[in-house]
């Protein structure tokens, strides 16, 4: 067994035994991510907080049945997903049709390509697409970039926002996210694709100066 798995078994045992310090450390470890994910389901921060609270209660109640088939993190986030969708009526088992349609943003980018009938450069980029320079951390540009991203994330359709938050911000795997959100791999990829394109576009406006 990996040392990580051993640590987890120990942690679960301590939690079951009512070890408050172990619980607090876990809350501090997972909590910020959980709040960020809950925020994708519920834009109201109070509701998001309540979702996180309910999740922890469900975690405690479910501790007896946790069998380490998945990692602790996956298990906790699964519970979070269930609480969140119950709370916000955003169905975990189906993706809203509108989010799979072509959004306005994607149509705009078509202007960056020559038409399919161009005599020499059919369907080629019209723009250069420069490599972005690395931004020194804490620089003005880095902060501007972060602001642009945070803003854009709020404006994405909820299912796109959910996928990109879980995959790219939280680092969950493709399998975990499909399971959490009740998506096929194909649907998940489409949502991730559109979300990343939108964020890239937002970054371009900041970084291409």
């Amino acid at each position: 067994m990996s040392s990580k798995a051993v640590d987890e078994r120990e942690l679960v045992a301590r939690l079951r035994a009512g070890d408050e310090d172990a619980f607090i450390r876990l809350v501090e470890d997972f909590g910020p991510s959980m709040l960020r994910v809950a925020g994708v389901y519920a834009r109201d921060s109070q509701v998001a907080a309540e979702i996180v609270q309910e999740t922890w209660m469900a975690v405690l109640r479910g501790l007896g049945g946790f069998e380490s088939r998945s990692s602790l993190r996956t298990w906790v986030f699964t519970i979070l997903g269930n609480c969140a969708s119950r709370r916000t009526k955003m169905e975990a088992r189906s993706t809203p049709l509108s989010s799979l349609e072509v959004s306005g943003g994607e149509q705009d980018e078509l202007e960056c390509f020559f038409g399919a009938n161009h005599p020499r450069w059919a369907s080629c980029w019209t723009t250069i697409n420069n490599r972005w320079d690395a931004l020194p951390e804490d620089s003005l540009s880095a902060r501007e970039a972060e602001r642009a991203i945070v803003e854009k994330l709020k404006l994405l359709p909820p299912s796109q926002s959910a996928v990109i938050t879980l995959r790219d911000l939280e680092g969950l795997s493709s399998d975990e996210v499909c399971s959490l959100l009740g998506l096929s791999h194909g649907n998940q990829r489409v949502l991730l694709h559109r979300a990343r394109l939108a964020i890239r576009r937002a970054l371009q406006e900041v970084l291409d100066q």
Binding site: E20, W56, F113, N129, N130
Partner: protein, 79 residues
């Protein structure tokens, strides 16, 4: 050989590893010979990497307190 538009459409599938070998080969062959697509691929990856660097905002103290209180209640109920 793919067009730039196809690279734009397929980039996430490429990075997710869901293209078949033949499509993957065509994708790479196009990107090598197309400067704007090189730039685009690089930008998409930078976007993903950048997102991975953002820590979530701080956890509110009141929320942590109320969760800990709930834990204590739960613990009492266990005994």
């Amino acid at each position: 050989m793919f067009t730039c538009r196809q690279i734009y459409d397929l980039v996430t599938e490429y990075d997710e590893g869901s293209l078949e070998t033949g499509e993957r080969r065509q994708f790479e062959q196009h990107v090598v010979i197309c400067p704007p697509c090189r730039g685009f691929l690089s930008q998409m990856r930078d976007t993903r990497d950048r997102l991975g660097q953002y820590s979530p905002p701080e956890f509110p103290a009141e929320l942590e307190d109320s969760i800990v209180n709930a834990f204590r209640t739960w613990k009492k109920e266990q005994q």
